[in-house]
C-alpha cells in the first residue's frame, strides 16, 4: 500500500544548523498493516511522517501509495490518499466552525469543492450516526463550534474525520501525546477499533513503548534518521519493553539506551 524507497531529508543544508533527519530510509507497508513507530527525540519519526504527508519535499528517493508515485505531489493533493491526525489536538479541526461543517469538509477529502450546499439532510444523518459511534454525545451537538470541545473530544473527532473518507493510508503522529492518560487510552482504543473495522493501513508514531507493543501488528524503531529494526507480527506478539531496550542497545551498538529514549 505504501512503498518508500531510499528517501533522505536534510534540514538547513550547508549551514551551521544543518540537521540530517532521514538517511536513506526504505519501508514497505502491506495493505492492512498497522505499524507503530518508536524512537527518541530527533530520530526522524515525525520527518518520516511529514515526508509521506508532503508537508515538505524529500531530497532524494521515491514515495508510492497504492502504486501511484506521489513524491512530487503537493501536500493537499496527497490528502486524497492520506488521513492524518496530528499531535496537537488544535491542528486537525477548524475551531471556529461547527462540528457538522468540519465533518462535511472531511467527508469530501480529496475532492474539488463545488458550489453545492456544504451538507444536506442526508449527510447530516450520516454524520450523526458516525458521531454516535464515538460515544461522546457529540451527535447532539453538531451545530456547536469545535473550539468548545475538550482536547480528547477534538482528537476523537479528528480521528473520525481522518477516516470517514476511507483513506489508503492513516498517519497518526503521536496523536495521544497531548492527552491525559485516561483520555489517551480511550482515543487509542477508538483508533484500534476504527483501524480494525476499516482494515486501514496505518502508521502510528508513539513515544510510549507499551502502546507501541500493545497496538498494531508491526513495530519499527528509528534512530538517527534510520530504521534501526523492524519487528514483524509474529515476533511482536511476545515482545516486552525490556526486550525492546535490549534490541536497541544491540542494534545501536552503544550504551545509548539512554534515559532520553525512555523518557522522551
Amino acid at each position: 500500500m505504501l512503498t518508500i524507497e531510499h528517501i533522505s531529508k536534510t534540514f538547513n543544508p550547508n549551514t551551521i544548523t544543518e540537521k540530517i533527519a532521514l538517511r536513506n530510509v526504505s519501508l514497505h507497508l502491506a495493505p492492512g498493516d498497522f505499524v507503530t513507530v518508536i524512537g527518541g527525540n530527533g530520530a526522524g519519526k515525525s520527518t518520516l511522517m511529514n515526508s509521506i504527508a508532503g508537508t515538505y519535499p524529500v531530497d532524494e528517493g521515491k514515495i508510492e501509495i497504492a502504486g501511484t508515485d506521489i513524491t512530487k505531489w503537493p501536500e493537499h493533493k496527497r490528502a486524497k490518499f492520506i488521513g492524518r491526525v496530528f499531535q496537537d489536538p488544535m491542528m486537525g479541526t477548524a475551531a471556529n466552525m461547527q462540528i457538522e461543517e468540519n465533518l462535511a469538509i472531511a467527508a469530501r477529502r480529496g475532492k474539488t469543492p463545488t458550489l453545492r450546499w456544504s451538507s444536506t439532510t442526508k449527510d447530516r444523518e450520516h454524520y450523526r450516526e458516525l458521531l454516535a459511534g464515538l460515544h461522546l454525545g457529540l451527535e447532539d451537538r453538531m451545530q456547536s463550534k469545535v473550539g468548545l470541545l475538550s482536547g480528547g473530544q477534538r482528537q476523537a473527532l479528528t480521528l473520525l474525520m481522518a477516516t470517514m473518507a476511507e483513506p489508503k493510508l492513516l498517519l497518526l503522529d503521536e496523536h495521544t501525546a497531548a492527552l491525559d492518560p485516561k483520555t489517551a487510552e480511550k482515543v487509542l482504543a477508538l483508533t484500534q477499533s476504527i483501524v480494525a473495522k476499516q482494515h486501514l493501513t496505518t502508521l502510528m508514531i508513539t513515544h510510549n513503548m507499551r502502546d507501541a507493543l500493545k497496538y498494531g501488528n508491526r513495530l519499527i524503531m528509528m534512530f538517527e534518521g534510520k530504521i534501526l529494526f523492524d519487528v514483524p507480527a509474529e515476533k511482536k506478539k511476545d515482545l516486552q519493553v525490556k526486550d525492546l531496550l535490549e534490541m536497541f542497545e544491540k542494534a545501536a551498538g552503544s550504551e545509548l539506551v539512554s534515559d532520553s529514549l525512555l523518557l522522551s
Binding site: 501536500e75 493537499h76 477548524a94 471556529n96 462535511a104 469538509i105 469543492p113 463545488t114 456544504s118
Partner: protein
C-alpha cells in the same frame, strides 16, 4: 429625522466595505491593506464608466470586477511569491494609486452631470435621503444573501476553514493558496463596489478617497461584533452590516457635538486601537482586581 435616515443610508453604502474587510480580517485572518486602493479603484472605474455613458448598474459591476482583479494581484503576491500578506496588500495599494490616476486621468472626477444609480431611483419619486437608504438596503441585502449562500457551500466552507486552520484544510485536500486568492478576490470586489456607490452618492470620485478605509472597515467589524455577536456566520454578517451603521451614527454624533471633521481619522484610529486591545485590557483588569500583579 433626516439625519437619522442619512446616517443609516451612509452606513449601508459603507457596509459593503465592512463585509469586505470582515472577509479578509476575520474569515481569512489576513489584514489586507489592498482595501485602501481597491475602494478608490471602484470609485474611479465607476466614475469613468458613467462619464463614458454606461448604465450605473454596469458601472457598479465594472467596479466590482476591477476590485476583484486587485484582490487577485494581492493574492498572487502573498501566495505564489510568498510576500507577507500585509506587505503584499501595501504593494497593491500603492500600485493602485497610480492605476487610479491613470483610469481617471486626473485626481478628481465630478459626477454632477451624470445619471447615477441614485438619480435614477430618485426619479421614481423618493426624496433624496430615502433614495440612498432604499438603494443601499437593496444592494446590501442582495450582497448579504449571496455571501451567506456562498460561505455555506462546499467551496465557501473551504475558504472559511483556510482562515481558521490551514493545516487542517490542507490535510483535507484543499489548496490553501487558491482559497486565499478567492477570499481576497471576493473581499476586494465588495470593497470596490462600496467605493463605486460612495462616489455616486458623493457626486465625485477622488484619488485620495481611500485613505483610512481599512480603519473604517475594521471599526465597523469590531463594533458590530461587540454589539451584535458572532455566534454563526449569518450572525457575523448581520453584525458587520449593523456595525457599519453604528459607526456612521457615532461619527454623526461626534460631529454634531462639535468635533472638527479633520480629526475624524484620528478619532477612528483611537477607537479601533482601543477596541482591538479590549480583550487584553479586560484580562489585565481582571487580574488586577484579583490582586495579581503582572
Amino acid at each position: 429625522m433626516d439625519l437619522i435616515i442619512s446616517t443609516i443610508a451612509q452606513g449601508l453604502l459603507w457596509a459593503l466595505l465592512a463585509i469586505g474587510v470582515y472577509l479578509t480580517f476575520r474569515v481569512l485572518d489576513i489584514a489586507d491593506l489592498t482595501v485602501e486602493g481597491s475602494f478608490p479603484l471602484g470609485a474611479a472605474v465607476a466614475a469613468t464608466m458613467l462619464i463614458a455613458g454606461y448604465h450605473p448598474v454596469a458601472a457598479i459591476l465594472g467596479a466590482c470586477v476591477a476590485g476583484m482583479l486587485s484582490g487577485v494581484v494581492t493574492g498572487f503576491l502573498c501566495t505564489k511569491l510568498k510576500i507577507p500578506a500585509l506587505l503584499a496588500g501595501i504593494l497593491t495599494m500603492i500600485a493602485l494609486y497610480s492605476v487610479n490616476l491613470r483610469i481617471m486621468g486626473k485626481a478628481n472626477l465630478p459626477l454632477l452631470q451624470q445619471n447615477t444609480i441614485f438619480t435614477i431611483a430618485r426619479s421614481l419619486g423618493f426624496d433624496n435621503n430615502v433614495t440612498v437608504l432604499v438603494v443601499g438596503a437593496i444592494i446590501v441585502l442582495i450582497v448579504a444573501v449571496l455571501n451567506y449562500w456562498f460561505f455555506g457551500t462546499e467551496l465557501g466552507t473551504a475558504v472559511r476553514a483556510t482562515g481558521c486552520n490551514p493545516h487542517m484544510i490542507r490535510a483535507n485536500g484543499i489548496d490553501t493558496d487558491v482559497m486565499v486568492v478567492l477570499g481576497l478576490l471576493l473581499s476586494n470586489g465588495l470593497v470596490a463596489m462600496s467605493g463605486a456607490l460612495v462616489a455616486q452618492n458623493n457626486g465625485f470620485a477622488d484619488v485620495g478617497m481611500g485613505v483610512g478605509t481599512i480603519v473604517i472597515g475594521l471599526a465597523s467589524v469590531i463594533i458590530g461584533e461587540v454589539l451584535f455577536g458572532t455566534r454563526s456566520f449569518k450572525n457575523c454578517l448581520i453584525s458587520v452590516i449593523l456595525g457599519s451603521i453604528v459607526y456612521r451614527a457615532v461619527i454623526a454624533v461626534v460631529l454634531q457635538m462639535g468635533m472638527p471633521p479633520n480629526d475624524l481619522k484620528l478619532f477612528t484610529a483611537i477607537l479601533v486601537a482601543l477596541a482591538l486591545s479590549l480583550p487584553l485590557i479586560q484580562a489585565r483588569w481582571n487580574k488586577f482586581r484579583k490582586g495579581v500583579t503582572r
